[in-house]
């Protein structure tokens, strides 16, 4: 079944069918329908992790069916390592997000769960689409349910946040649509066929100035979605006002579409523009600014949810740094960090949501000492917070470390500055943890808090397991990424602006750099090379 190719189509269709089913039933049953749909989805999708052929350079599980013949538009889907991880991230997070909504959502339940399921289809579609038209359809499709989720079930300022989210994201995507039309036109002019197929558009010869314009349009769409500083201002509003599950999905999956877009479309389609000094310089600078700025702003947030929202900006800054460093380690770390951020930030939002359901406040100052009454909650919060900071032994460390190591070779100064962001991360996250779960338990309301129940523990366990698993044994994940990362690098290596070779020559003999060495080091499968290879101390 997993080598017959329709598994991806099935994954796209099931949530849509579930959405209709949700609309057909009433009240709480809609939640159960949605939960079972997403669980089924996850059960169907997870085997992909093992059936995925490691090391194969091309897309897998591909389907290509003509759709709009005259325009060369087809239903083309397929996955490579990057898509695979994103798809799995999505199917793992969705059941948790749905289960996390059972208590929070009290009005219009069928519509809510239907929105969540349509959103699932939209997100999965973005990650598997290999046709520009199809990609754009999914890209826009998932905006509408998110708009509804924020607007109907959000907090007090939900109108403002919903419309801001919507307009911000569409500014970029509409210009991207023009760029897609331009790209198709250029391809038609050079080859004589009209097609929206990603694989064929990759071969479009585009002059350098035009590449810059088209890249700018794509980059704007993706940079808003990431979000990169200074286009991030929609994010704290949307996150804060969205219901818990909305924030989880927004941070856990939606933001990844931006970085995914760069990796899949922005960079490979326009390699000359993407690797030019000006563009790389701009993105690296903005990434570093984003890391530091978000960390500082997060440190002074009184609202726990807003604090976590700002950490997203910082984490995604790391991802962008890794991507635009254009080294194998940086890219792998960046992609892994996308997954890590989805897991740990999703877990953070879920934990804060659980607190909010009990106290109806997210103000950090309203808590204190609740470790005494909610010990399980406290343990979970500490683990997740440490993962978010990037403590060795958790997943966050692997990702950030790879990013820093990789990018140091091409942008040493920026990397050094960005590395301080890891320290600042501790500066905002640890005080928050301290003020919430430690400190004296001096409020009556807090003394009466119930610890996490069975459903809540069941939601958190998979996330905690993944945090530790990726933290100690990331090799399976990195293995699956390697060919996809190589392909991105091949696209940009058409220009010799990436000084990989030079950096390697400068190192003492016996030190292996490059992907193989690092995956080997991290997983400990191959003998570690002698000394200065910067392998992490595992499990510290």
């Amino acid at each position: 079944m997993y080598h017959s190719h329709w598994i991806l189509t099935l994954l796209l269709a099931i949530p849509l069918a579930g959405a209709f089913a949700c609309l057909g039933v009433s009240g709480e049953r809609a939640g159960r329908v949605a939960l079972w749909t997403t669980v089924l989805e996850a059960a169907l999708a997870l085997p992909l992790f093992w059936t995925f052929r490691i090391g194969a350079g091309s897309f897998q599980n591909t389907v290509s069916v003509p759709w709009i013949g005259a325009w060369g538009i087809g239903y083309r889907v397929g996955i490579d390592g990057i898509s695979l991880l994103m798809v799995l991230l999505t199917v793992v997070i969705m059941p948790l997000a749905v289960a996390g909504s059972f208590r929070y959502i009290e009005r219009h339940r069928p519509a809510y769960y239907a929105s969540m399921l349509v959103l699932t289809t939209g997100m999965l579609g973005v990650f598997v689409a290999l046709d520009m038209f199809l990609f754009y359809v999914f890209w826009e499709l998932m905006l509408v349910p998110m708009y509804f989720i924020i607007g109907i079930w959000g907090g007090e300022r939900r109108l403002y946040s919903a419309i801001k989210f919507f307009l911000y994201t569409t500014v970029g995507s509409l210009l991207m649509l023009v760029a897609i039309a331009g790209l198709v036109y250029l391809h038609w002019r050079s080859s004589g066929t009209v097609t929206f197929a990603y694989a064929e558009l990759l071969n479009t010869p585009i002059s350098r100035p035009v590449q810059f314009w088209l890249f700018a349009a794509f980059a704007l769409a993706f940079a808003i979605k990431v979000p990169m500083f200074p286009l991030h201002t929609w994010l704290p509003d949307a996150h804060t006002e969205a219901p818990t599950a909305g924030s989880v999905v927004l941070a856990g999956i939606l933001l990844k579409m931006g970085t995914y877009g760069f990796l899949r479309f922005g960079i490979p389609l326009f390699p000359r523009a993407a690797t030019s000094h000006a563009v790389v310089g701009l993105f690296v600078t903005l990434a570093v600014i984003g890391i530091l700025y978000a960390a500082w702003v997060a440190a002074v947030q009184p609202d726990a949810k807003k604090l976590v929202a700002y950490t997203s900006v910082a984490h995604l800054g790391f991802v962008m740094l890794g991507v635009f460093g254009f080294t194998a380690e940086g890219l792998q770390g960046g992609i892994l960090q996308m997954v890590n951020h989805g897991i740990s930030t999703g877990a953070l939002f879920l934990l804060i949501g659980m607190l909010y359901e009990r106290r109806h406040t997210r103000n950090i100052a309203d808590f204190g000492g609740i470790a005494k009454v909610m010990p399980v909650f406290a343990v979970c919060l500490v683990v997740v917070a440490l993962s978010s900071i990037g403590l060795p032994g958790t997943n966050g460390f692997v990702g950030e470390f790879l990013i820093l190591v990789g990018t140091f070779r091409t942008h040493p100064l920026a990397t050094v500055i960005a590395a301080t962001g890891v320290i600042f991360a501790a500066c905002y996250m640890l005080p928050m943890v301290q003020r919430v779960i430690l400190n004296p338990l001096d409020r009556q309301e807090n003394r009466e808090l119930q610890d996490l129940g069975g459903r809540e523990r069941a939601i958190l366990v998979p996330l905690l397991a993944l945090i530790l698993l990726i933290g100690v044994y990331p090799k399976p994940f990195l293995d699956r990424l390697a060919p996809a990362v190589d392909r991105v690098l091949q696209r940009v290596d058409m220009l010799p602006s990436v000084p990989t070779a030079r950096a390697e020559r400068a190192l003492p003999p016996g030190v292996r750099l490059g992907r193989e060495a690092f995956t080997a080091n991290l997983s400990g499968v191959v003998d570690a090379p002698p000394a200065p290879a910067p392998g992490p101390e595992r499990g510290s």
């Binding site: 709009i68 005259a70 325009w71 826009e140 509408v144 419309i163 649509l177 023009v178």
Partner: protein, 526 residues
């Protein structure tokens, strides 16, 4: 100007004009039946006139199908026989059918069930079909007047309501003004070229030296058309007329009138004036830009949904003008495809508005839509889909239509138009979404009046619109093929987009067996 035609003899002429003839006859039948049925008393018309008019439209559509297989009319024919006309007829008949279906409930509610309404609607459609199919400026003018005069009356049809009367008067005065510009432009062009026939005018212009007279004529013609398609700065009448007219008529006006005038404009510009693009292309470019920018900005501050939709439909004229400015098969296909989708979503949206507005069209304020999504999920869902499509969101036809227009603009080397189009649609998102948020994000206070219960005809029409929009968004292939291969008799090779002749290999193959070889032969003889 007797036409030496491929279609032999009188029977041939009749066959080539069958849809128009059928529709005219059914309009007359409706009038007669109504007179005999009502006799002396002045009560409402019976239901037979309704169904007679619907049957008339369906018969005309069937007659239109037979046009597909007819050979091309000769170059001298007064009315073209090409894919462009056939598709235009389908669009107009579709708008008429939807207008009728949505009018039933409305007329009953407002006590306006008078047979003349249906007859006028059908006659206006005949005018539209002549307007978009004619190849001679005089005939185009006749079609324009036939359409306009019927629509003036329809606009003022609810004469008890001062808003309707005011709208009708405004529309009439400005329309008459526009007709004068138009006919003056025709006169100047006749003076410059010695003919009013589009194809012959084209050959005169491409051989001779077009002078000031041509430029003046083209300019006046553009002004005339500008009024009819409600292009900025000739749009001032449109919001008032649209708001005051009985709502089903508004939908019909916004779709049918605009479609017919836009397609006639396309034909006139690219057939007769194709060789003198320098005279008008810049003007069209600016008309398109202004028509996209201004109404979208004004619509932002409209609190009345009907008026907001009126501005939105003016803005859509701007998007369509992008297709006109692009020209060529791609621009032609884009305009036709967009008009199909536009008709469905605009007529549908206005129809939902009149249901919500209640008797006398009193409650079309934004606040009246609060909580509609939870009170009337089907009605609100339909309006939501219409609005998403108007905004150009996948998976609706509005998105495919916008993409088509974008491709046409980019393909004719006018990326600027494409960028302005998307930026103005971004502005439009805001006011479309405002309605969505009223419907779903806010709860209805107790005193909001409950919308009407809809009749069967309305539901059928709404389902038709929604289904059409979704089909155009999800399986647009057949419609795209049809629009992309619709031939335009005498269209000169566009010089703006020399490179975008029939883009897709698929489309080219489709087009060939139907029209191309014979038309090419006809052109060669000429």
């Amino acid at each position: 100007m007797s036409g030496a035609s491929d279609v032999a003899g009188q029977v041939g002429y009749l066959r080539a004009l069958l849809p128009e003839i059928v529709l005219t006859v059914s309009a007359l039948v409706v009038l007669l039946v109504d007179v005999f049925q009502r006799g002396e008393h002045r009560g409402p018309s019976g239901s037979s006139v309704r169904w007679l008019s619907v049957i008339g439209v369906l018969l005309a559509a069937a007659a239109n199908v037979t046009l597909i297989s007819l050979g091309p009319a000769g170059p001298d024919a007064l009315v073209a026989l090409d894919g462009f006309r056939v598709l235009a007829n389908f669009i107009i008949l579709g708008a008429t059918l939807l207008g009728l279906l949505f009018a039933f409930d409305y007329l009953k509610r407002e006590g306006l069930e008078i047979g003349e309404f249906y007859a006028l609607l059908l006659l206006a459609s005949v005018g539209m079909m002549i307007l978009s199919g004619a190849q001679d400026l005089v005939l185009i003018f006749l079609g324009l007047e036939m359409m306009s005069i019927s629509v003036y009356v329809l606009t003022a049809f609810n004469r008890e309501d001062p808003r309707s009367a005011e709208a009708g008067l405004k529309y009439f005065l400005i329309g008459a003004f526009a007709s004068a510009f138009f006919i003056y432009g025709v006169a100047l062009l006749y003076g410059a070229t010695g003919t009013t026939h589009l194809v012959r005018m084209a050959s005169v212009l491409s051989h001779g030296h077009p002078g000031l007279l041509t430029a003046g004529g083209a300019g006046l013609l553009l002004i005339g058309f500008g009024f009819k398609v409600s292009a900025v700065p000739f749009h001032a009448w449109a919001p008032d007329a649209y708001q005051g007219a009985p709502t089903p008529v508004t939908g019909y006006m916004a779709s049918g009138v605009k479609a017919a005038a836009m397609l006639a404009l396309f034909r006139v510009l690219w057939v007769s004036l194709g060789s003198v693009q320098g005279y008008w292309h810049g003007t069209i470019w600016w008309l398109a830009v202004l028509t996209m920018v201004v109404p979208n900005l004004v619509a932002l501050v409209q609190d009345d949904v009907k008026r907001m939709l009126a501005y939105s439909s003016v803005a859509h004229a701007g998007y369509l003008l992008v297709g006109v400015a692009a020209g060529g098969p791609l621009g032609r296909g884009a305009a036709l495809f967009y008009l199909v989708v536009y008709t469905l979503m605009t007529v549908g949206a206005f129809a939902v508005v009149y249901v919500v507005a209640g008797k006398g069209d009193r409650h079309s304020h934004l606040a009246d839509f609060r909580g509609l999504g939870w009170r009337r999920p089907w009605l609100a869902g339909a309006l939501g889909i219409f609005l998403l499509s108007l905004a150009g969101f996948p998976p609706t036809g509005g998105f495919v239509g916008k993409l088509y227009l974008l491709r046409a603009a980019v393909g004719s080397h006018q990326p600027g138009l494409a960028v302005i189009l998307v930026l103005t649609s971004l502005v439009a998102y805001y006011y479309y979404l405002r309605v969505v948020w009223k419907m779903y994000f806010e709860d209805a206070p107790a005193d909001v009046p409950e919308p009407d219960v809809t009749g069967r005809a309305f539901r059928f029409g709404a389902v038709l619109c929604v289904a059409g929009i979704l089909v155009a968004g999800l399986v647009p292939g057949p419609a795209v093929d049809a629009a992309g291969s619709a031939g335009l008799t005498g269209a000169s090779a566009p010089s703006v987009d020399e490179s975008v002749a029939s883009t897709a290999p698929g489309a080219r193959q489709d087009a060939k067996p139907r029209t191309h070889p014979r038309r090419a032969a006809a052109r060669a003889q000429e």
